[in-house]
Amino acid sequence: MRFTTRLLTTAVIASAFAAPAMAEGTLDKIKSSGVIVLGHRDASIPFSYLANDPTKPIGYSHDLQLKVVEAVKKQLKMPNLQVRYNLVTSQTRIPLVQNGTVDLECGSTTNNLERQKQVAFSVGIFEIGTRLLTAKTSGIKDFPDLKGKNVVTTAGTTSERLLKAMNAEKQMGMNIISAKDHGESFLMLESGRAVAFMMDDALLYGEMAKAKNPGNWVVTGKPQSFEIYGCMMRKEDPAFKKVVDDALKATFKSGEVNKIYSKWFMAPVPPKGLNLNFPMSDEFKSLVAKPTDKSAEEM
């Protein structure tokens, strides 16, 4: 029954908010209500997650989100603008942006063509490659080594689609397990049900850092795709999108993004004080140098 309940809830929320969301632009809405609603995740470490304070998210994407809030305050001349947080999941994030519940979602959402039909994306805030996490002793070095093996990935991700497509096209005979979240995918790997875990490299580093013995694991393989994460907002709202994009571009240009990056990827992060040790990739460096709101597949 859970899925129907969820659907009904979404539908009810949708109908309740549908009218005001369509009537005015996001900036007008923020101005008249005096509140900006930020969408965040609960466990996308280190992008957007809840650690010590259950009411306030932290993370790399959230720090960038706050840069946008500063810009909105300046633009609307509302130094006392209130910020409200709204937790989203991978299933609710798009509808909640569309129906006006959330004004801006920054987490770990890949910008792709399907999603562009439903929402607008900011300039890219991060770029990942889809790679493999495996035990150092497994002998797996790259994707061709996966022939006939059990491989896990997280349900609903681009990695799942890529892996399934690769399996079909190259007839690799892999058994693909779709686990419900990254934590469970890693459990499948750790418990020996799968020899490798395919996912966004940043998230693989995050899982590795959480492992009992991080030294036993290694991220390997040639990236099968690059994906650009973006912040989501409603479509056809150029005024708001401009504020968002400008704020992010300014952060990139000033180099402040490097400080934020180091804080979350090269130093211990809450809650456990893990250090991901994930240096900035060349792909992301060029994205920072030349910001774009296109998806990786369009480039």
Binding site: L7, T10, E114, E160, A165, I176, A179, K180, R193
Partner: protein, 247 residues
């Protein structure tokens, strides 16, 4: 709301081989039925044995059955599923453990875990229905059967159970429907049943409402068909002369 409806999505390519999204729903429905039906058959058999045990004279057998019911009814289904999938296999003896976790197709090992889990969980509920059905019968029925020389087993087989099962068809029907709905927990251990395929379609296509709407319709039609089937069964076994069943 700025939602971009696209009902043709089900006929569009998923980007994997030549599959369209509708294929995913068909295969998901297939897994859902395969999980629920097999688990139901096991649950019905095991639950009946346990239900009979609870009504037997003596102490030991009823106590075992009662303990079973308490255990399986009071632990949340999801916890049980994770036990069967992640914990129990780790306690299998060695060659078996590797075989179950690595050699067996992951879909098969997930299937086995979820069928065992749902069967044992539902058996506890069936047990209670069967017990209630037996206890609702007049005491004279078992006395009459014993008096003609039936063993306890024959008394249950020929006299008590045929009547008890007729009484409990309505609650059993609702357990039967529940097992189909509960089978959606399989999506959490990576078995691509209907709910998992729905979520996958929603994620990949970003047409969330269409995906969940189709799933709702499929579950609804499935449940309605099962209910119609059970009504037919109930009519078929109705006793002439009782409760408006006169011919």
């Amino acid at each position: 709301m700025n939602y971009n409806w696209d009902w043709n999505i089900f006929f569009k390519s998923t980007g994997i081989g030549s599959e369209i999204y509708l294929d995913w729903f068909v295969s998901g429905l297939g897994w859902t039925i395969a999980v629920a039906l097999v688990a139901w058959i096991i649950a019905l058999l095991l639950g009946s044995v346990l239900g009979v045990m609870r009504t037997l004279p003596g102490k030991a057998l009823p106590a075992i059955a009662t303990g079973y019911v308490e255990l399986f009814r009071n632990v949340p289904l999801l916890v049980q599923l994770f036990m069967w999938y992640f914990v129990v296999p780790d306690y299998l003896p060695e060659p078996l453990q590797t075989w179950f976790k690595q050699d067996l197709n992951p879909a098969t090992s997930a299937y086995v875990s979820v069928v065992v889990c749902l069967a044992l969980f539902t058996a506890a509920r069936v047990c209670e229905q069967v017990r209630t059905g037996i206890q609702a019968l007049p005491k004279g029925q078992s006395a009459a059967a014993l008096a003609v020389g039936f063993s306890i087993g024959q008394t249950y087989r020929h006299v008590l159970l045929p009547q008890a099962f007729r009484i409990i068809i309505p609650p059993l029907t609702s357990e039967f429907l529940n097992i189909f709905k509960n089978s959606s927990v399989a999506s959490l251990i990576g078995l691509m049943e209907l709910l998992a395929q729905t979520k996958q379609t929603a994620e990949f296509s970003a047409n969330i409402f269409e995906a969940f709407t189709l799933a709702t319709v499929i579950y609804f039609v499935l449940n309605m068909s099962l209910m119609a089937l059970m009504n037919l069964v109930e009519k078929k076994v109705r006793i002439p002369g009782m409760m408006g069943g006169a011919k």
